[in-house]
């Protein structure tokens, strides 16, 4: 039960899904976005060379941000709509 609560949801889009191999998944025991980024780069080294922004609960963040259980963190490659 506590485990479910401690999870954050990850979303990847566009070219980043080629690197992450999945577009949505969950992770446990992540305290902030710096820690998250390090773990992601360890798992997917190609992310280090990728340009992307993080959105926490649909808001783009800069710098390090504390994460809470239930947060949705999205990895957004450069937009190319229109």
């Amino acid at each position: 039960m506590d485990k479910v609560k401690s999870k954050i949801t990850l979303l990847a889009f566009g070219q980043l899904t080629d690197i992450t191999g999945q577009s949505t998944w969950q992770m446990e025991d992540i305290t902030d976005t710096d820690q998250l980024k390090n773990i992601l780069i360890e798992k997917h080294p190609a992310l280090a060379n990728s340009k992307y922004l993080l959105a926490v609960n649909m808001e783009i963040i800069r710098g390090n941000v504390k994460l809470n259980p239930g947060d949705v963190v999205a990895l957004l490659p450069p937009f190319s709509g229109g």
Binding site: G14, Q15, M58, A74, L76, P78, F79, S80, G81, G82
Partner: protein, 148 residues
């Protein structure tokens, strides 16, 4: 954020010229409008590594895109005295030569309609989470990068 429900922006596949015509025609009853400005984004058959682009496949982060479109709409109405404002964007496959973005502003005078349309197009290109994968003539894919 207001309580207004975000308007439907996304359209499956290309935006047809007839759809644009119907949108224009629906404004003939709004007789205080003096000027419409329309922007249409069309898929180009760019050459990539010697192969031409046959289509673009658009995907999005729907909840965030809806939120962004809503913010842009509210900001445009705040910044310009518009009578009407419509935004449509394609998802899925749009062939080269077909239209994937339709921004439509209407105002009493031309300056407001023109400036608002440009403002909205720029914000969409920079702020809305939509991604285009260019499908080349041999079926391979290449992720699109927007002109700044």
């Amino acid at each position: 954020m207001t309580e207004k429900k975000p308007k439907k922006v996304f359209i499956d596949g290309p935006i047809s010229p007839d759809f644009v015509a119907k949108s224009i025609a629906s404004h003939s009853t709004k007789k205080d409008i003096g000027a419409h400005s329309i922007f249409l984004g069309q898929v180009r058959n760019d050459m990539i590594d010697g192969k031409s682009v046959a289509a673009i496949e658009y995907t999005t982060y729907p909840e965030m895109a809806d939120l962004k479109f809503h913010e842009i709409r509210e900001a445009a109405f705040e910044a310009y005295p518009l009578t009407c404002l419509h935004i449509y964007h394609s998802l899925g496959t749009v062939l080269a030569g077909e239209i994937s973005l339709f921004v439509f502003t209407s105002a009493i005078h031309r300056a407001e309609a023109i400036k608002a349309c440009e403002y909205i197009v720029e914000r969409i290109k920079h702020e809305v989470p939509v991604w285009g994968k260019e499908i080349l003539e041999d079926g391979s894919g290449s992720w699109k990068v927007n002109t700044v």
